[in-house]
Symmetry: C2
Subunit: 337 residues, 2 copies
DNA sequence: TCACCCTTGATGAAGCGGCACCAGGTAACT
DNA sequence: AGTTACCTGGTGCCGCTTCATCAAGGGTGA
């Protein structure tokens, strides 16, 4: 049960003014006597008055809030993207509302409803691994609320996107493995529905082809990113008649898990099997052996996405652009390869 | 520039109804003809109608939103607390607005203003390392908006708090070091203003006393949690005439940094120097050597804090409680000690 | 000195989108 | 005809902005 909150009417009454005058004093309108303004500001301060943004937003049809929907929160990737995005957003005077979809489509849909109900001025999204239908996101476009995708994007929506060059990153990672003498390189891939899975897989394939290594389908395993399943797939690979001498993982958490499994089996990384990840998460440089990985500019991605969104919000719906910003990756060679 | 949004008036017009009827149909009021309700719901669906929570909140004086203010976002600790808190909050139908204070007092104050302006129904806070004045938080109490502190709490406010038993955790960590034969145990402590620093320091001291080891003030270094300064302090300790044979760190990121510095100097962990942390962050089990640390129930902390807040929100201001929930820690012995 | 206009500072009312309460109106039953 | 149950309409209001008004005073020219 909240108490009565202080409103401009309270201030107006105490100073014998109309609420319009108080409102103008507070918003810095010029046609207000300096003494009056002073009195209003002082009393407001004294009463802990806070403008009710709900009321203001209702009038201006603008909440100064941008929504961010991410699939999860537990690796370092998304929190860092959010840090970058918040930095840009708050500089521009925007607050952020963050939702996790927990990698499930239903939750993502629910999240978008929350965002709509709360009238966000724009939306930053990275979709779940399950999301195949995009109607819940297209609603925003129809309503004139700009969307920007980052990392995990939707191909059939014509909106700004921020991604890294997944193909190139994967290509270079695998090339590096080949150049260090690996012949049988496995790939623990992500859900085929995700573009990043597809592109990294293509980079992997291209690197093999370029080096005249025949693709062995047996060595490519798509999985749903549930870390607890990694041991199954790794053990399967290691039990093959002709096991791989290297594994390229869709991302760092997976790679880290792979290394744990390999070590548990008594094999040595990289002597017996090399492992390469993708992301350069915080933990990657710390584990033993330190993980070779493809670093992506995470915070930068958040910043870029937020900036694209702000740009879009400042445009008329008719002038909306659909820029795709591709950020560069960098291969970081450490001890796991 | 947003387009016109669909309102109940639009629906009312198209169906030749009054907006009251539409409102009642939408909110599930019983006294609406089934056919009418059906028509309203269908049209609403078709027009992508979304209730405007701003308007509703303005009327009900309730936003169904709880605010969370955390100092940072870059270690795994706070994101995990948030995961727990969001789980409980969303089950109870509440959204969350998250702000980072970036460990600075000014930002924290600004964050509280945002929370007030957005009319949050309750607030979860972990203060910055700088925060010594609490007026900006006391405002919430005066306005009848409940606050719950977690992890980093404010002692002179009578509100619910969730902490771990920092004293006990530190005591057991240091006791463990002593029992494994360490004689000169240093402590890289946190800012003295933070209760957790003080309590962990006290636990450290108590363990020494209990084992008749004299406290050497030279070995206790308070620092401001800026990781980039860790090398300075560690090198200082290692350069002492009588250097320590163990370091107990205020938290895991610090301990991890300490290990890096020690390794860089060519010394061995734990042979030359043992290191113990506090938190059991994700990375702690992965580094080499795996970090001995005091694990705290992070997600649990978020859940408990959120639950205490919900409880408080359901009480009248007069009945507010100020429970302090102390969660248990657990010593996890790994290879760094 | 007076009528007029302009400026300054303040007021009043409408309305943003929705809910809740008070009034009706209609049809069916007593 | 009166009562009841069912539906539906109208209005006020949540806190605030904004536009149209207006009163008071100062300056100007005849």
């Amino acid at each position: 049960m909240k108490r009565h909150q202080v409103t401009i009417v309270d201030i107006a009454k105490q100073l014998n003014l109309s609420k319009s005058t108080v409102s103008r004093a507070l918003t810095g309108h010029p046609s207000v006597h300096a003494a009056t303004r002073q009195a209003v500001l002082e009393l407001a301060e004294q009463l802990d008055y806070q403008r009710n943004m709900l009321a203001i937003s209702l009038i201006t049809n603008k909440t100064n809030t941008i929504g961010i929907i991410v699939p999860e929160f537990s690796s370092s990737f998304f929190p860092n993207v959010i840090i970058g995005a918040q930095e840009i957003a708050s500089k521009a005077g925007y607050n952020t509302v963050i939702c996790q979809s927990n990698e499930t489509y239903e939750t993502e849909v629910a999240n978008t409803k929350v965002m709509l109900a709360n009238q966000v001025d724009g939306l930053l999204v990275s979709i779940t691994k399950e999301t195949k239908n995009f109607d819940h996101l297209k609603v925003f476009q129809r309503k004139g609320i700009p969307i920007v995708f980052f990392n995990r994007v939707c191909d059939d929506m014509d909106v700004p996107k921020v991604i890294v060059d997944d193909f190139d990153g994967a290509y270079r990672a695998v090339t590096h493995l080949i150049e260090s003498g690996r012949k049988r390189i496995a790939h623990l891939s992500g859900p085929p529905a995700l573009k990043i899975s597809e592109k990294r897989l293509n980079g992997y394939k291209a690197a093999l082809r370029k080096n005249n290594i025949e693709l062995d389908e047996e060595l490519v395993i798509p999985y749903d990113l549930s870390l607890e399943k990694v041991p199954i797939y790794v053990n399967h690979l290691l039990n093959l008649d002709n096991p791989p001498d290297a594994i390229f993982a869709i991302n760092d958490p997976t790679a880290i898990e792979i290394i744990q499994v390999i070590k548990k089996r008594g094999l040595k990384v990289p002597k017996d099997i090399a492992v390469v990840g993708f992301s350069n998460d915080y933990a990657s440089g710390l584990i033993d052996p330190a993980l070779t990985t493809v670093s992506q500019p995470v915070k930068e991605m958040g910043k870029t996405a937020a900036q694209l969104l702000l740009d879009q919000m400042n445009r008329d719906v008719a002038d909306w652009k659909s820029i795709i910003r591709v950020l560069k990756t960098e291969l970081i060679v450490r001890n796991s390869s």
